[in-house]
């Protein structure tokens, strides 16, 4: 054995150092036909299976390779923001949350994918196309930065056995907005008489966490006639008396239902999954919640719940406004995005073009049990969505794709994304619900904050 000398140690260190560097270029020199894709994990496993199948089919159909990362919903959001901040980005990612498209388009962080969307433009719903656009504050133009993949609206989910236990039938539920929700107060009163201490009429998410409370408030705002709060030109209309009246009515109804004891007290602290869990535990009669996750999560485990006990009110069933007119559904569209700095934009675009072929996209949402809606109206006519044996799908797709729909307001003005994330509407609901504030006062406070937020995005 040779002596250990200074030179030999240094030489050895150099060799080791060089060896550790060697694999790096191999990673950096990944095949030019590889693209990395990030996607949010599904609520049910079938969603991930559907995604993996679409990816595998693409790999088979092309010579390209997709490095797919399926990441839980909340961590994916953090990962996306970290990636965009650091500049080390994947080639494709999904809009998690949806408004991330508009937030980072403002900063010119996405590749224009107008050519990708163009390949199937005639197939998409108008709402899906509108939702794929965003204002770029660097180029001072609006462009298509998202590729519509799937969508969701906010239907009502009801437990039939609880309604019947209170002495009512599902058919007794009124059709107009206030009467519809008031019905569940009567159901709760009936259940109390039956000795149910802890079952509540409505699962309103009167909380300042997650995306649910915003969706809930917007559904009520639109139903009360406040649809014009932000118009297509991006302008805010808080001075419109109809908008103000609608906001006051929404805060009054949602906060009032909580204050009067028709919503579980813990709802004030709920996160996105908590209302699903409480509903599954039969702790409330009805829930207003986005997607069909509530139902599909139980399809395999409790088929009798899915096919018999759970009722989904899309269309028909979803209430009209108080004058009997249909209420447009506000649609959130998940988009495929290509960040600027992506290493392989060509493959990324090719993959997305493949993915949005009507057959592929239909299969993707159908294999995912229909938790998400398709974004192409023709897909809604498939035997899957029109299956007469399925109690949920037909009404859901009618509500979110074939009936009157609207894109979410952050599509028209990015400021509305911050209104959502800062939970401005939640605070108005909670002010009424918990602190006993007058709805007018709570809404004035919310409007002041909304104006401050909009002032930051003047260029839009």
């Amino acid at each position: 054995m040779g002596h250990l000398t200074r030179r030999s140690v240094l030489r050895g260190s150099l060799v080791l150092g060089a060896a550790s560097v060697l694999p790096v270029p191999r990673v950096a020199r990944a095949a030019p036909t590889t693209a990395s894709v990030w996607f949010a994990q599904g609520f049910v496993q079938d969603e991930d299976v559907a995604l993996r199948k679409a990816v595998a089919d693409y790999e088979k159909a092309s010579s390209n390779k997709i490095e797919l990362s399926i990441i839980p919903f909340a961590p994916e959001r953090q990962k996306i923001i970290s990636a965009l901040t650091s500049g080390v980005v994947p080639d494709v990612l999904d809009s998690n949350p949806n408004e991330i498209l508009q937030i980072y388009a403002w900063q010119d962080r996405w590749v224009d994918v107008g050519d990708v969307v163009e390949s199937q433009k005639g197939q998409f719903s108008e709402t899906a196309i509108e939702s794929s656009t965003a204002y770029n504050n660097v180029t001072k133009k609006r462009a298509i930065y998202g590729v519509p993949l799937r969508a969701a609206v906010v239907p009502c989910h009801i437990w039939r056995p609880l309604v019947e236990k209170a002495g009512f039938k599902i058919e007794d539920i009124p059709k107009t907005w206030n009467a519809y929700f008031d019905f569940f107060k009567k159901v709760q009163d009936g259940l109390r008489k039956q000795g149910e201490r802890k079952v509540y009429g409505m699962g309103f998410q009167v909380t300042a966490n997650g995306v649910d409370p915003y969706n809930l408030f917007i559904a009520f705002l639109v139903a009360y006639g406040g649809q014009g709060i932000v118009t297509k030109d991006g302008k805010l209309h808080l001075d419109d008396p109809k908008v103000k009246e609608a906001a006051i009515k929404a805060a009054a109804y949602l906060g009032g239902a909580y204050r009067d004891g028709y919503v579980p007290p813990s709802a004030i602290n709920w996160n996105d999954a908590d209302d699903n869990n409480a509903f599954h535990a039969k702790l409330m009669v009805m829930d207003v919640d986005g997607t069909l996750s509530t139902e599909v999560a139980m399809k395999e485990k409790h088929p009798e719940w899915y096919f018999k006990d759970m009722v989904t009110h899309g269309v028909p069933g979803y209430p009209t406004d108080n004058s009997g007119k249909p209420v447009p559904a506000v649609v959130g569209v998940t988009q495929g995005l290509i960040p600027k700095g992506a290493k392989n934009v060509t493959v990324a675009k090719e993959f997305l073009k493949y993915f949005i072929q009507p057959k592929v996209l239909s299969e993707f949402v159908e294999l995912g049990l229909g938790r998400w809606l398709p974004v192409m109206p023709a897909a809604a006519k498939s035997p899957f969505w029109q299956d007469p044996k399925d109690p949920h799908l037909k009404g859901y797709v009618q509500m979110g794709l074939l009936g009157p729909t609207l894109p979410d307001y952050y599509v028209y003005n990015l400021a509305m994304a911050e209104v959502r994330t800062q939970h401005v509407w939640s605070m108005a609901m909670i002010d009424v619900a918990k602190d006993g504030a007058k709805p007018e006062v709570a809404v004035d406070k919310a409007f002041k904050r909304i104006e401050e937020i909009f002032a930051k995005y003047k260029a839009a």
Binding site: L10, R77, I81, Y104, T207, A208, N269, A417, T421, Q422
Partner: protein, 304 residues
């Protein structure tokens, strides 16, 4: 005149030689190369994992407009109040309890060792799952605590997490419950390091019980206690888990602390620089703490 003198020409070379000599110090020949070989890896690690993140963080939070935006946030003020309360109560109650308990665990006996083992369990179990359990236990409608109250006493318990002060109290109590065992062990080790002769001599002089604690034990532990308190304050300032998983920052964003507000701004509002600014706004408190801590650690006297 633009002429360059010989002195001027030789100046850079002279400067280089002086610099090289000052770097080498008393090291000669190969010793200098050895020193470099050992120092360079450390420097690389330090620059990559310490200096760069700190400088990057400072850079991210360096824009004054971020602080204007932060102060305009309606929940920022209540967040600062929460942070102060969380630190003041969380650290001091916990450290005081740890001080008392460390005395209790000094008692002899095998059963005391067994009790100590049970006592450290809250610290040993993973914190996220325990905080989530506490969150569910405190649920007003179907939580364990209210169910017990109803079943055994027919009392309808309150919605523990629906009120700002009760929710913040729950966070503080959870933190104290989780971390008291750790600091108790540290102070117990400190107590055990006090030489037996000192304690025996004091006992002979009549310094037993409270007198012994006030005149002997505490003065000898004071430095350790202060260092532990400072360290715990710095740790707690960056603590995210207790608030996030026990109260979730609710109700209505009323129990956020700076760490959770920073995460919310960075990832929910999708404004990472604002998130960094939220955390950086604690610097006026952190810097004096670190300075005092460093001074205490530099103490050369023999102190426990």
């Amino acid at each position: 005149m633009n002429s360059v003198s010989a002195v001027d020409v030789s100046r850079p070379a002279l400067h280089r030689r002086t610099l090289s000599r000052s770097l080498r110090g008393s090291l000669k020949g190969g010793e200098y190369t050895w020193a470099l070989a050992f120092v360079v890896p450390y420097l690389v690690v330090f620059v990559t994992f310490v200096a760069y993140p700190v400088v990057y963080g400072l850079w991210m939070g360096s824009d004054a407009s971020l602080y204007r935006e932060l102060f305009a946030d309606p929940i920022y003020q209540s967040t600062v109040v929460n942070t102060i309360l969380y630190l003041a109560l969380g650290v001091n109650v916990k450290m005081f309890l740890a001080l008392l308990l460390s005395g209790f665990f000094m008692r002899p006996g095998r059963w005391m060792k067994a009790l100590l083992l049970i006592f450290v369990l809250p610290w040993a179990v993973p914190q996220i799952s325990t905080f989530i359990s506490i969150h569910w236990m405190l649920n007003g409608e179907w939580g364990f605590l209210n169910n017990v109250l109803y079943k055994f006493f027919h009392i309808e318990g309150p919605s523990w997490l629906n009120d700002r002060w009760m929710a913040l109290g729950a966070v503080i109590v959870s933190h104290i419950w989780k971390w008291t065992p750790f600091w108790t062990l540290i102070l117990l080790a400190g107590r055990m390091a006090i030489p037996l002769e000192i304690r025996d001599t004091a006992r002979v002089d009549g310094a037993t019980g409270l007198k012994g604690f006030v005149h002997i034990t505490f003065p000898l532990l004071a430095n350790l206690y202060l260092i532990c308190t400072l360290l715990s304050t710095i740790f707690l300032l960056g603590d995210f888990n207790a608030v996030n998983f026990v109260s979730g920052g609710g109700p209505a964003n009323s129990t956020h602390v700076l760490a959770t507000l920073g995460i919310r701004d960075a990832f929910e509002i999708a404004h990472p620089r604002l998130g960094v600014a939220a955390v950086m706004s604690a610097l006026p408190l952190v810097i004096p703490l670190v300075i005092v801590l460093m001074r205490k650690l530099r103490t050369t006297e023999v102190q426990l």
